[in-house]
Amino acid sequence: MNRPIRTVSLFCLALFLALMINATYLQFWRAGALDDDPRNQRVQQASYSSERGAILVGRTPVAESVPSDDRYEFQRRYPAPLMYAPLTGYFTFGNATGLESAQNSVLSGEDPRFFVRNLVDLVSNEQQSGGSVELTIDAKAQRAAYEGLSALGDGVEGSVVALEPSTGKVLAMVSLPTFDPNDLASHDFGAVDDTYADLLDDPGDPLLNRAVQTRIAPGSTFKLVTAAAALESGKYDSADSLVPGGATFQLPQTSGDSGVVDNEGRACGTDEITFRQAMEQSCNTTFAQLAIEVGAEKMLEQAEKFGFNADYLEDFPGQARSVYPSQVNPPQLGQTGFGQFEVQATPLQMAMVAASIANDGVVMRPYVVSEVQSPDYDAETADPEELSEAVDPQAADVLTELMVSTVDDGTASPAAIPNVAVAGKTGTAQRGVPGEPPYAWFVSFAPATDSRVAVAVMIEEAPGQEIAGGRLGGPIAKAVMEAIIS
């Protein structure tokens, strides 16, 4: 009987080999795919119950994990929820936004950079803990921006972005209306669902980070781009160069009132005026004509050098592309010259325009994470990165001069700071819907030489206020700049 017993042995060996091969396939080769299944509650629960790293502004956490008594072991807490919600986003079971999402691999500790440490944790049976993320945000500037924008009253919808021109660091990023991420991080999932539904239903869209996700017509602030294109064309070289002016300008290929560009009563001469005056008085007639002079191709090229039609924000999710249209006819081209027609920009984009003028024409890649810290406090600092050269340094100087004049003697005067040369430009953009109030814009930087901060303020809605870029946006920009400079 031994021969069949040996056969049976071989058969049993085959059975066990099949089991081992299958187990190896399941736990080694297929494990990754199983972990990636969105329905895999284990992965979600583990990420939810682990000690996540903090999101820091300076040394102060704006998001941190504190021990909790329930089965999830840790509770995510946001000490300054409303002010920082657009940045931090929220972290709830199975979902995260903002930096909680973009920096998840660091915060959860799964980043490959922590590999060695995680191995040590594994061997010593310690629970894996997350690394921290330090932001480029300046707490004072952020507070100034948040308080300034909030002061416009209930129901205000808008955003403030401040950049450090020489590096691209985001110094402030505020978006209103905002929300309390603590409500969404609660372990009472029923309440979280209700809160989330309410936030989605809110007409003010509080979950939207307007600083990077909302793009609207930039209006007169876009004249900086048109001016840059005009200077780069070589036809004009100083603030005193004569540019086309006039009280009205009939767009090419049009007839009648709808094709007439005017200046809403501001003094823009009759035929030719200085570049300085055109900028100070924000002359639509001038910039419409400049855009047509430069041509659609050069305008597009100039806008794209500043970052339009591109993705550049790499360490923060959801950046909307600012748009300069690639197909325009001559009357539309004229309208784009003062930031209308299909030109659309995010507040971040307009802050980048101001910042690159302040930085001798060099556009720096904006970033919000300045440092990644491992759980052992090994730090890795982010390096500034040059994105492009928007204009040459001479043109940047001329643009700066134009903007300083605009603050000193023109429409941007609300942003003036005593004893500091401030460069600024207002914008009041039409929505294109009759009867609706316009959008208010304000961009500025200070000091004019070796500038340390560039700001863009955008106000979509401010119930009960008369919308005007300079009057509404100027003081906010001023407060933010003062917070950095002083």
Binding site: M1, P4, I5, C12, F16, A23, Q27, F28, L122, N125
Partner: protein
Amino acid sequence: MTTSSTLMGFVHRRRRGAELFLLVLALAVGVGGYAAVGVGVEGKVPADIIGYGGWLAALIVAAHIVIRLVAPYADPVLLPLVATLNGLGLAVIHRIDLGYAARGRETSFAQQQLVWMTLGVVLFVAALVVLRDHRVLARFTYTIGFGAIILLMLPLLPFFEPINGARIWIQLGGLSFQPGEVAKVMLVVAFAGYLVLHRDALALAGRRLLFVDLPRGRDLGPILAMWLVSLGILVFQRDLGSSLLFFGLFLVMLYVATERPGWIVVGGTLFLGGALAAWKTLGHVQDRVDIWLHPFEYYRNAQPPFSDQIVEAQFGFGWGGLIGRGFGEGDPTRVTYAESDFIMAAIGEELGLTAVIAVLLCYGLIVERALRVALISRDSFGKLMATGLASIFAVQVFVVIGGVTRLIPLTGLTTPFLSYGGSSLVANWVIIALLLRISDQARRPVPDLSADEEESDDESTQVIKL
């Protein structure tokens, strides 16, 4: 066999010291695992570690001493393997108790399992002490076979409730018992006794068809009867696993007894035919196969069939990866019945592929040792019994672990020695006792009869009055 081993003058060593050393390692796994569960889940070594460890050690040492006394030549590896698996199983069941407690469900599976293990060891000892020669069992072939059938049919009596759709339990005063677990051991004995007697008839008569020797029609009786019993279990008790197990067992033993692959062909055809018919006609079999093929499509279904158990197990295995999450770091209680049928998923999740392979190796070694016993056994009955016990073990491990890891459709069977479940644990301890008894007989040196023979030549023949 007898002649060859004496001719070569080879005598097996007892190796009881080696067994004791291996038992210490097995205890380290069991007690260490229990401590690791406490540290991992609750952050401290369990308070009752001394009592628990002492009890476990006492059981194992008792088994060892009994082997020294009544089966000194028994295989030295089997008991340590079993002790390892049982100890690991207890630790993991304790872990799952704690997991259920965290979810607000009070269970004490580990304590009950320890009680069952004690009963298992008691029966193990009793079997070794009472049964000094396994061939005695051959006398009771038909009694045992009849008893097995009775046990199998017991749960079908109307006053026993089906659990989870399967009629395989009987309830006696609060305790649930699966008579099928005991019946499988009895069936092995009965098959072995029957086949030893009838193997010649089954082996030699028959006709040749397409290179395969097919048995005679009249010899097909038993195999058809067994096939019907298996189908009956499948249809009436809705127990796919046991059905497969019993029929597979019978086929393997038939093949070993007759040395004719023809039986495998006939039996395999019957099995495939039966399985196909069951799949065509029985809804629950179809569901099992569908869930096996596309588990993720049925995950979190609003109405049956559900695949949550198998999918959660899959996620658990994947989550465990190569070295596992560690005790307390996984979530094994997401899988329903993690303490019994799906205990391998809990091991895979918290101890990883490493432990899964280690457990499979333990099982493989048990089967290997059992088949080795079959090879060296000196009598056909012992050979058949050892082969049967080895096969039942191998097939059961394959069916349940294969089902849990989605190699084959899922069928309800316990994982020997690991799963929570009294009947299975007790029955498996008895299986090991039987194997040790056969191996003791096989490895024991042949009594030196030569001197006696010479003496007897000198003596005059005694006449005994009848």
